[in-house]
């Protein structure tokens, strides 16, 4: 640039190339990953992403962003960097750790995607991990006493189950019965998707160490309860409040797992011959009262729609994280969508498959991209989730397989 004129700035389209995840496990000493490290789960995901996309040279990866809510021990030490090194990526590939609690992986995607659009990266790997068995929720947390002395948040704001109970208070017509019915449908839709082979191809096998039993191999999700019934759900205890509404049956469990995806500038994906699973349209993050964090996806979706010029009617598929059934119902209720609308979580959701906190965002995206491939009649899809301390996160995607309106 010899003269004083400014270099022009332009944005690029960003595409979701491919996503994979480990099978999800139940947290705790009997879980399939009880003796498996969190970083090893991420390593397995990164290596499999590269193996499944052999036309992507490893040195073309410009960033590795990995989310974890608890960033200590095997989830600490800047896990994006450690996992990249452990996965055998060239040392020239940088990495970082990212945290927005449950929306960690989703934020890893929006942040690196923005970097791609801006021209700072060509290709990025984004994902998340949570080993809730090794890192119980809130491990090492030290909330500032001002939160309480100044009543900045209600005491219940830090207990996610209590925030879900609070949502039932705010929306009394969202009853436990509706929540249980939604939960049952989630289990059933998940089981059907597995039987149809719709869930499965995105899973990477993980060797699991057990000092007691010897090596095993995780190939399927551990949390689902295919024998769930409405009668059974009705008998479950409400651990967050006596005679409350939130149960282990209508909420996601405590889980271990990791996810990851490849993002690229569309022109780079074409250059390298990478598949295009989805095209990023836009996203929104919005804060809400921490006591009712579950309502977060409502304003974040409103914002994402407003910024992309779309309306809720334009969205043909919804992948909503089911932290709690009531929180998804609040979203559907707001947008006038039926509890059993077939566009919503067609392959079930976190109530069945599990919710290893910071990893879940990329699970939603991976499933949406696979649904896009099956549904050329759908143009837009939406992934959204609620976030602890009162936030919502929404990402809108376009289906590259869309065949047009006529």
């Amino acid at each position: 640039m010899s003269s004083g004129e400014r270099r022009p700035r332009w944005l690029r389209e960003v595409v979701f190339v491919d996503g994979v995840r480990t099978p999800f496990g139940k947290a705790g000493p009997k879980g399939v990953y009880a003796e498996t490290r969190a970083d090893d789960l991420v390593v397995r995901v990164i290596r499999e992403l590269l193996r499944r996309n052999p036309s992507l040279p490893a040195d073309r990866v410009d960033e590795v962003a990995i989310a974890a809510t608890t960033q200590v021990g095997d989830q600490g030490l800047t896990i994006g960097r450690t996992a990249a090194l452990l996965a055998g990526l060239p040392k020239s590939v940088p990495g970082y750790a990212i945290d927005r609690m449950c929306a960690g992986a989703m934020t890893a995607v929006t942040t690196t995607a923005s970097g791609i659009a801006f021209g700072a990266y060509d290709v990025a790997i984004a994902g998340g991990v949570e080993h809730m068995g090794r890192h119980p929720m809130g491990e090492g947390a030290d909330p500032n006493p001002r939160f309480f002395s100044e009543k900045l948040v209600d005491g219940s704001a830090l207990v996610m189950g209590s925030t879900a109970e609070n949502l039932h208070d705010r929306f009394p017509h969202l009853t436990r019965e509706r929540a249980d019915a939604f939960a049952l449908a989630s289990q059933q839709k998940y089981a059907k998707a597995v039987a149809n082979g719709q869930i499965g191809p995105e899973l990477v096998t993980v060797s699991t160490r057990s000092a007691e039993q010897g090596w095993g191999l995780a190939t399927v999700d551990e949390p689902p309860r295919p024998n769930t019934s409405l009668e059974g759900l009705a008998t479950l205890k409400t651990p967050f409040r006596p005679h409350g509404n939130v149960t282990a049956g209508n909420a996601a469990g405590l889980n271990d797992g990791a996810t990851g995806c490849i993002l690229a500038a569309e022109e780079v994906a074409l250059e390298l011959g990478l598949d295009v699973g989805m095209r990023l349209v836009g996203y929104g993050f919005v804060g809400v009262e921490p006591e009712v964090m579950g309502v977060g996806p409502v304003p974040s979706t409103e914002r994402a729609l407003a910024r992309t010029g779309l309306t809720i009617e334009d969205i043909g598929l919804f992948e909503l994280n089911e932290a709690f059934a009531v929180q998804v119902l609040a979203f559907l209720d707001h947008f006038g969508i039926a509890d059993d609308d077939p566009r919503v979580n067609p392959w079930g959701g976190a109530i069945a498959v599990g919710h290893p906190l910071a990893s879940s965002g990329v699970r939603l995206m991976t499933q949406l991209s696979r649904q896009f491939a099956e549904r050329p009649d759908v143009r837009y899809g939406l992934t959204a989730m609620c976030v602890g301390l009162g936030m919502g996160a929404t990402v809108i995607w376009e289906n590259p397989n869309w065949e047009g309106t006529e």
């Binding site: 060797s207 010897g214 190939t219």
Partner: protein
């Protein structure tokens, strides 16, 4: 099945039935795990074999029958072979044969299995561990794994199928390399990628997802999607390869190790293949060999020696509490000659602290520093040092004329001319500039350390650190405690020795310490025999049946006649009745000859007449005289308290002189040949310690 070995750490075979994507049936995966971390690798004793046998029973009874059986190890380790700690409990040939046969029977189940079998070699697979893997129909290996057959090195044979299976998998010549050549080259291991290249494994995967990729590969093999190709074994290669093996064994052991000889015999037998009857015959021959060797004194001596170098060498007997050691943050080296420069190189590489060389003129100092820098450059060229590390180490090595450069050193070692007055003066000059805690060390090979320290203000800081040439290679360090040496100085010396990655042995301040004293005595007997009229070549051959790494006169050349003469004179002063100074040796030094031979097998003409005495000895008489002298000298050293125990003498001879395992250093040989009892009235070690039990 007999009871387990006493105290056997049993390697359990844990079975799980795995569903693997793409495969209709299940894979029965056996994990070998002894319940300890990788610092205690899994081994097979009676209990471990029984566990594997039971696991295979369980799998055979399992319904539905699995599509495959696979074996892998605990993290970082596959299995490292037979549990040698159990060998002392084998007290009869029948016992020994039973162990051999049991291993064969259990492992053969994997070979004969109608269900396809796989070994996933995730980490070290040595000896019996590798044999287990070789019995499987297919193998994968991790890039970080290593394989080896240490048996010939230990005086055994790879007798759980290894001698038969390996040559019939990869061909006889590479098998000779792995089983004989590598074993006898200080037990060299074969890394995973090389093992895959040789065909020991069919597929190579990185450790990050080794088990997942191995299982996926196995599914490919089972479904017929992955073809496993193995080259045809060339049966015409056998004669040449066996001849090569025999030459290696002769060169390395002088055919004195029965284990190495039997190993080659078994490899020869493997030419008949490993199908059905041929394998039965081959394994029966292995049973015979194991039964004989396990009940041999040579093997028991080897295991004793192995135990010394793996255990005693790491925990030196008599060393003071390591907490007393002072930190060494800078080292001074007095002298800049070849020995001093080699020491400086070793110190800077291992301690990575400033090292200052001094000498009497600038030219010598510059030459010394240049030598160290040059050696560091060579290491960098060979890829052993990174560019940054090279810069760092070169920057740490400096030279000075003034000993004031030692002022802040924590350790100063001298390697100046072997003359008491010179050394005393050097120490006095150093003491004038260093702190009272600075440890002063001498690399003398034969002078009295106590006398060297006697004129100092702080004699308690003086120790002997006796290295062996070549300093970078030989693992032994004799740490000499002088009369006034205190525990702190001694502990510092041991800490430094350990940091230098040497095996330290505590020795008293006795003339020539251990290795030089015994070698000088031994050499003195051989040269005396020559002067008596025994032909040089005959005398030089006389010790061959022991299988020492070199003949007496080869040793003389390695040590260097001037050094040998210096030590011999010093020993003669100390013990005139036992140590003579040979006329021939004097003449060699006068003439500047480094060898008694002008060319191999031809005695140097300048030494003509040296063996013109009139009472020549037979080779057997020379040998008898030399080993009897050793027994006498060792007994005297033990009586004098030169070392804590005879084990330390053996350790010194193994690590400092390269004397072989099958002699147990030397004491096991002197005991089993009856020499110690004949010369000193008793054995050095009770029966069963380095020999078969009574």
């Amino acid at each position: 099945m007999s009871a387990t070995f006493e105290d056997e750490v049993v390697t359990a075979a844990k079975v799980r039935y795995l569903r693997v994507p793409g495969l209709a049936g299940e894979i029965a995966l056996i994990t070998l795990d002894n319940g300890h971390d990788h610092t205690r690798p899994s081994t097979f004793g009676r209990g471990g074999l029984a566990s594997l046998d039971a696991a295979l029973d369980e799998i055979a009874a399992h319904t539905p029958a699995p599509a495959a059986i696979a074996v892998t190890g605990k993290p970082f380790v596959f299995a490292v072979g037979a549990d040698l700690s159990g060998v002392p409990s084998i007290t009869s040939a029948a016992d020994a044969r039973e162990i051999a046969e049991t291993g064969h029977r259990v492992f053969r189940r994997l070979k004969d299995s109608t269900v396809p079998t796989f070994a996933f070699v995730n980490g070290a697979a040595l000896g019996g561990g590798l044999e287990l893997a070789l019995h499987c129909h297919h193998r994968t290996i991790a890039t970080t794994a290593v394989v080896a057959f240490p048996e010939a090195f230990l005086g055994l044979v790879p007798g759980w199928g290894g001698t038969q299976l390996l040559p019939n998998l990869i061909g006889i010549d590479p098998a000779v390399t792995v089983i004989v050549e590598n074993a006898l080259a200080q037990n060299k291991v074969t890394p995973g990628p090389k093992a895959a290249e040789l065909g020991i494994a069919d597929a190579l995967f990185e450790p990050a997802d080794f088990l997942e990729r191995s299982l996926e590969w196995a599914v490919g093999v089972l479904n017929g999607d992955v073809a496993v190709s193995r080259p045809e074994v060339d049966r015409t290669a056998w004669d040449d390869a066996i001849a090569r093996a025999r030459a290696i064994v002769a060169g390395r052991t002088r055919n004195a190790s029965p284990g190495a000889l039997r190993t080659v015999d078994l490899l020869d037998l493997a030419r008949d293949g490993v199908d059905g009857e041929a394998f039965t015959a081959g394994t029966a021959a292995e049973d015979d060999a194991l039964a004989d060797l396990l009940m041999s004194d040579e093997l028991r001596a080897s295991l004793y020696a192995f135990d010394l170098v793996t255990k005693r060498a790491k925990r030196p007997a008599g060393a003071p509490d390591r907490k007393l050691a002072r930190k060494v943050t800078k080292v001074g080296v007095v002298g800049a000659g070849l020995m001093a420069s080699q020491l400086a190189l070793l110190f800077v590489r291992r301690l990575e602290v400033p090292v200052v060389l001094t000498d009497i003129d600038q030219a010598r100092v510059d030459k010394g520093v240049a030598y160290v820098h040059g050696e560091l450059d060579k290491l960098a060229v060979r890829g052993r040092l990174s560019a940054d590390k090279l810069n760092r180490l070169k920057g740490l090595v400096t030279g000075a004329l003034d000993k004031a450069a030692f002022a802040d050193a924590d350790l100063v070692i001298e390697a100046v001319f072997e003359e008491m007055s010179v050394k005393q003066q050097v120490f006095a000059e150093v003491e004038a500039v260093v702190s009272p805690e600075c440890v002063l060390a001498t690399n003398t090979s034969a002078l009295s350390v106590s006398e060297m320290a006697s004129k100092l203000e702080h004699p308690e800081r003086v120790v002997g650190l006796h290295f062996f040439n070549p300093v970078a290679v030989l693992p032994l360090l004799e740490v000499v405690r002088a009369e006034q040496t205190d525990d702190a100085a001694l502990a510092t010396a041991f800490a430094v020795g350990k940091a230098l990655r040497k095996s330290c042995v505590l020795v008293a301040d006795a003339p020539a310490f251990v290795v030089n004293r015994l070698l000088t005595r031994f050499l003195g007997e051989v040269t005396a025999a020559v002067e008596q009229g025994t032909p040089i070549a005959a005398a030089d051959r006389a010790l061959d049946p022991l299988g020492l790494p070199m003949t007496p006169f080869e040793l003389l050349t390695l040590v260097g006649p001037p050094v040998a003469l210096h030590v011999a004179e010093r020993m003669h002063e100390a013990f005139p009745d036992r140590f003579a100074v040979g006329e021939g040796l004097r003449r060699m030094v006068e003439l500047g000859k480094s060898s008694v031979y002008s060319e191999p097998g031809v005695v140097n003409a300048d030494l003509a007449g040296i063996d013109s005495g009139d009472s020549p000895l037979t080779e057997e008489q020379v040998r008898e005289r030399a080993v009897e002298a050793l027994a006498q000298e060792i007994r005297l050293m033990l009586d004098e308290g030169v070392v804590q125990a005879v084990q330390d003498i053996d350790l010194c001879m193994i690590l400092g002189a390269g004397w072989p395992f099958w002699l147990g250093g030397i004491s096991a040989y002197l005991d089993r040949a009856g020499v110690s009892e004949k010369v000193t009235g008793s054995r050095f070690l009770p029966k069963g310690v380095a020999s078969l039990p009574a």
